[in-house]
Amino acid sequence: MPHLDAAYNLARWLAGNPADAEDVVQDAYLRAFRYFDAFQGGNVRVWLLTIVRNSFLTWLKENRSGRLVFQAETPAIGVSGVEETAWGEPPPDPEALLLERIDSQTLARLMERLPAEYREVLLLRETEDLSYKEIAEVTGVPIGTVMSRLSRARLALRKLWLEAEASEASRGA
């Protein structure tokens, strides 16, 4: 089955656990198969990821009514002082480079703390290597929104990481 790993990875990061991710992916592929005639050409992976995302939203509505996962442009939960201008504040530079040495467990934990829309845009951009236009297609928002959301997502992740780093340091001291 094409792009199954990519589909599962996105579903897994959105749904948060393996069992729900599997249900979402299965639903997505059944839809994809049913509506294959509606595929207008273009990138099959982008098309499938769009369906995975829609399946996730449907699943969310049916299973977790009331819990808001996607919110309109919210700052990261529990992150204080995230700059709300479109492009954020100047970076606290040299520290940010420490990200290169982050261990995968910490990074996964921080990603889980991000709002779903930030997590999603980071995955689509960095892991799936999609263009702004393709991300706009998958998430159904204008390209300008993709750019500002991506900028905020990066800023939020950086903040979370610096905080984690700081609390680690103070515990160690």
């Binding site: 992916v25 198969f33 294959f36 100047p90 990200l99 995968s104 990066r154």
Partner: protein, 252 residues
């Protein structure tokens, strides 16, 4: 503010989303601006961290099978798309398909019109669907003496099923399919890890055609017609390997 504008450019530069002119502009600015230069470094560092350290969840082994078994067994209904109305002039070549053994293929890339595109996407659709539905073969065997009679018993065509494993194209099996309103035989081969679907169906068009290669959405398709049968070889394998495959297939 000019500086904010450059910060936008830095992100777009890191994301490879700048045209040539703005790219030069941004690069020049970064060379002079320590803050933007640090910003670029930190964007790239975050990307490296996500790509190397973020756990990537792979689909569990049973998932493909589970989806496959949940799919409806029946085929997608055929659409009435008159392949025979495609003007014969679109087809290249000189009717020498039968005598092609050992002769290099002449492959022409056509600028195709509407109905040709519909055919192309129908064929690619069949290929993608066969893998998506985990329904690659109805009869899974590398024995051509099993595949050929299985197909001829069910279809009005009896395409050749040559043994090409020695040339790097092992036979995987056969399947019945519906492509663009045609009941088609699908003969499945592999080239390394790539699947090649060879579709064959009876055509009303007279005469043989040359071979033509078309590329769409990462898939290569080579189409030809011989002895009243339309053939389409589809795969995401590189064009030259698909050409070699068709050469061997049509030559035997």
């Amino acid at each position: 503010m000019a500086h904010d504008r450059f910060r936008q450019l830095v992100q777009r530069l890191a994301d490879n989303e700048l045209g040539p002119l703005r790219r030069i502009l941004a690069t020049r600015h970064i060379a002079r601006c320590a803050s933007c230069s640090a910003e670029l470094d930190s964007l790239l560092a975050m990307r490296a961290a996500i790509r190397t350290s973020l756990p990537s969840h792979r689909a569990p082994p049973g998932l493909a099978a589970r989806i496959g078994s949940a799919l409806p067994r029946e085929q997608v209904p055929p659409r009435a798309r008159p392949w025979f109305r495609v003007p014969a002039l679109r087809l290249t070549g000189s009717g020498l398909a039968g005598a092609l053994a050992g002769v290099a293929l002449t492959v022409a890339v056509l600028h195709s019109g509407g109905s040709d595109n519909a055919m192309l996407s129908a064929v690619i659709g069949g290929h993608v669907r066969s893998m998506m539905a985990d329904h690659l073969t109805d009869v899974a065997t590398s024995d051509r003496h099993t595949v050929k009679p299985w197909l001829s018993a069910r279809l009005d065509v009896s395409p050749p099923v040559p043994e090409l494993a020695a040339d790097g194209y092992p036979l995987v099996g056969g399947r019945m399919d519906y492509i663009d309103g045609h009941r088609a035989a699908a003969i499945v081969y592999r080239s390394d890890k790539h699947v090649i679907n060879l579709f064959a169906w009876k055509t009303n068009q007279l005469g043989d055609s040359g071979f033509r290669l078309q590329e769409n959405d990462g898939f290569n398709v080579i189409s030809w017609r011989a002895d009243g049968v339309a053939y389409h070889a589809v795969s995401d394998v590189e064009a030259n390997k698909l050409e070699r495959f068709v050469q061997l297939f049509a030559g035997k």
